[in-house]
Amino acid sequence: MSAIEVKGISKWYGKQKQIAVNSLTFEVKKGEVFGLIGPDGAGKTSLFRILTTLLLPDSGNARVDGLDVVKDFREIRNRIGYMPGRFSLYQDLTVEENLNFFATIFGTSIEENYNLIREIYIQLEPFKERRAGKLSGGMKQKLALCCALIHKPTVLFLDEPTTGVDPVSRKEFWEMLGRLKDQGITIMVSTPYMDEAAKCDRIALIQKGDILAIDTPENIINSFPEKLYRVQTEDTGRMLKILSEYSSGLYAYASGEYVHIAFNDNLISPQEITIVLREHISSEVSPEEIRPNIEDCFIHLLRA
C-alpha cells in the first residue's frame, strides 16, 4: 500500500473556475521523501491542503495512509503531521507551551515521543521559555517541525518549509528530514528551490496545476534530451539577446552568473555559437558542456 495515492484530483477557485490543481494522479511510497517542485502559484499548497483534509477537492479522490481524505478526514488528522507554509503556531505561547499544547491535543506527551524530536528539540531547549513569536526564522521552523512530529505521524506534510530560511538552516533542515526518513516516516515536501529537489527520493515538477514530470531526480536529469552548455558573462542581457536572435535551434536563459544554452536541434553546433559569441561579446568567452540540473529540466519541460 502506498502512503499517498492521488487519483484525478482537481481543484478550482472562483467564478472563472481558475484551475489550481488539474486532475493530478500519482503515488508516494511508504518511507519516501517526495518533493513537489514548482514556482509560486503552481498549485502546491492547494494540493497539500486537500491531502491534509483542509480543502475538499472538486473532483477525484485521494488516500493518505490508506484513508480517504474526504470520508476518513477525522482519522487522517490523527495520523498526519502538517507544517503549513506560514508559521502558524501560537506566537504568544512559549516554545514549551506550544509543544505541550500540540502533544496534549493529540493525546500524547512530549516524553512519549521525545526520541523522535530529540535532535531538533535539543537546539530549541535553551529557548524553551521564550515566546514563539520572538524566535528567529530558523528556530520557528524547527519548533513547527517539532509540533508537527510530536504525535509520531506516519506521513509528514511540509509546505515550503525552507522558504525564507537562511542557507545553513536549510541544509540542517534537510539533514533532519533524512533522519526522519530513516525512522520510516513518509515525507511530502514542497519547495520552490530547485537545488533542494536533488535531496528527495522522487520529485514531481508541477506548473499551473499540472505535473510536468514525476520521477527520481536522477532519472529526470538523465532524460534531458539536449546538449547543454554554459557561458560565464558579465553582460547577461546582451548575450541572451544575441543568442535569441541568432537561431531558433537553441534557447538560452540566465542561471546565476552563467547563461545556459540548450541546443534543441542538430543543425546548429556549439562551435558555431562560440565563434558568434567571441565575435560579438568578447574573445574570452568559452562555452563548456555541462550536465543539466533540475532547473534546466524544468525549463526544458515548460517549453515542451
Binding site: S88, L89, Y90, Q91, D92, F101, F102, I105, G107
Partner: protein
C-alpha cells in the same frame, strides 16, 4: 475532556499575556461608570434665554426673575427688539426668546388678559421642547400667583382647580444616575462578551493558527467551547467589577437578589458569545470583525432603550428593539437593580434570550466550518 481542559488553559494563558485586553477589562468599566452616568443626563439645564422686555414694569421684572430663579435658564441678554433677539438665535447664542409686550402689567390688570411671545430655537429638539415647556410652566405658575393676589382682593378662594401630586416609585429622586448605571453595566457585559469573542476567533484565522488547529483531532465543539467558556467567565468578571464600582461610586445596591441577576447574565452571555462567534465566522480579518461588531453595537445601544424610551419609537423601531438582546438586559437590570424584581418577573426576558442564545449559537456553529 483533557483536550478541552488544555484548550482552556491555553486560552487563559493567552488572555493573561495580552496586557491590552486585561487593561481594557479593568479600565473600561471604571471609566464608563465614572463618566457616562454624569454626562448621559436627560435633564436640560442652562437653556440660554433672551428677554425682550418692552414693558419694564414690576410684573415683567418679577416674571423674569422667576424664570431665572428656576435654575433651568440662563439669561444671556436683554434685547430692545425681537429682531435683535432673533439674531441671537441665529448666532446660536440663544435657545429661547421671551417677548414681553409693552403695557404688559397695565393691560393684565385692566383687561384681565395679556399674551406673551416665546420663540424657540428647535435645532436641538430635546432642548427646545423641554425649554418651551419649562418656560410655559413657570409662566403658568406666575400667572396663578398673580391671579391669587388679584382675586384675593375681590372674591377670596373661588378658583377651582385639580391639584396633581406625583410620587416617583423605585427612583424617588428621579435620579438619572441610578437609571443610567444599570444600563451602562449592560452595555459593558455586551461589549466584553461580543467584541472579545469575535476578535479572538478571527485572530486565529488571521494569524493562521486555525490552519494548524484544523489538522489536529480537535473537534468543532471542543474548539468552540474552548473559546466561549473563557469569555463567558470574563463577562461575569467584568460585570462583577462594574457592579462593585457602581456600589462604591454611586451607592447603587441591587434591590433584587444577586442570584437573579447572575442567572440572567449566565443566559445572556451565552447569547452574546454566540453572536460574537457568528460575526467571526463571517469575517476573515480582525478589521472586518471590528467593523461588523461596531455596526451592530451602535444599533444595539441606540435601539435598546438605554438613552431613549422604546415606547416612543415608531413601530418598526420598536420591533427592532424587541429582537435586540441589549433591550432585554437593560430592562432586566433596571427591573432587578432598581425595582427588586424576582426570577418570576423576568421569566419572559429569560425565555426570549434563551431562544436567541440557541438560534445564534446554532447558526454560528453551522457556519463555522472546519474544512475551509
Amino acid at each position: 475532556m483533557r483536550t478541552l481542559k488544555y484548550l482552556l488553559i491555553k486560552e487563559f494563558k493567552q488572555i493573561f499575556r495580552n496586557k491590552a485586553i486585561i487593561g481594557i477589562i479593568m479600565v473600561m468599566p471604571m471609566i464608563q461608570l465614572l463618566i457616562l452616568p454624569h454626562a448621559a443626563n436627560y435633564e436640560v439645564k442652562n437653556i440660554n434665554l433672551v428677554v425682550v422686555d418692552n414693558d419694564h414694569s414690576t410684573y415683567s421684572r418679577n416674571l423674569v426673575s422667576n424664570i431665572t430663579g428656576s435654575g433651568y435658564f440662563q439669561l444671556t441678554g436683554n434685547c430692545q427688539s425681537f429682531k435683535q433677539a432673533f439674531s441671537e438665535i441665529e448666532a446660536d447664542k440663544a435657545d429661547l426668546v421671551l417677548e414681553i409686550p409693552a403695557n404688559f402689567e397695565k393691560d393684565l390688570i385692566r383687561e384681565q388678559s395679556q399674551s406673551l411671545f416665546i420663540a424657540v430655537n428647535a435645532i436641538n429638539g430635546t432642548k427646545a421642547n423641554l425649554g418651551a415647556s419649562y418656560l410655559s410652566r413657570i409662566i403658568r405658575e406666575y400667572n396663578n400667583t398673580l391671579r391669587a393676589e388679584l382675586l384675593s382682593v375681590d372674591k377670596p378662594a373661588s378658583s377651582r382647580a385639580i391639584e396633581i401630586t406625583t410620587a416617583n416609585w423605585f427612583n424617588p429622586g428621579l435620579d438619572y444616575k441610578s437609571y443610567m448605571v444599570p444600563g451602562i453595566l449592560a452595555i459593558l457585559v455586551t461589549m466584553v462578551g461580543g467584541f472579545l469573542t469575535a476578535l479572538n476567533i478571527v485572530k486565529e484565522k488571521e494569524v493562521g493558527t486555525i490552519e494548524q488547529i484544523n489538522v489536529t483531532p480537535i473537534r468543532k465543539s471542543q474548539f468552540i467551547l474552548g473559546k466561549l467558556i473563557p469569555f463567558w467567565i470574563l463577562g461575569n468578571v467584568v460585570f462583577t467589577i462594574g457592579l462593585t464600582l457602581s456600589w462604591l461610586i454611586y451607592g447603587i445596591v441591587p434591590q433584587g437578589s444577586l442570584f437573579v441577576i447572575y442567572a440572567f447574565i449566565a443566559v445572556y452571555l451565552v447569547a452574546i458569545l454566540g453572536f460574537g462567534l457568528l460575526v467571526s465566522t463571517y469575517s476573515e480579518t480582525q478589521q472586518q470583525a471590528m467593523f461588523i461588531m461596531f455596526f451592530f453595537m451602535m444599533m444595539f445601544i441606540l435601539l435598546s432603550g438605554l438613552f431613549t424610551s422604546i415606547d416612543s419609537m415608531p413601530g418598526w423601531a420598536k420591533a427592532l428593539a424587541h429582537i435586540n438582546p441589549v433591550t432585554y438586559i437593560i430592562e432586566v437590570f433596571r427591573m432587578v437593580i432598581l425595582k427588586g424584581s424576582g426570577l418570576k418577573d423576568i421569566l419572559p426576558q429569560i425565555a426570549v434570550i434563551s431562544v436567541g442564545a440557541v438560534l445564534l449559537n446554532t447558526w454560528a456553529v453551522r457556519n463555522y466550518r472546519k474544512t475551509v
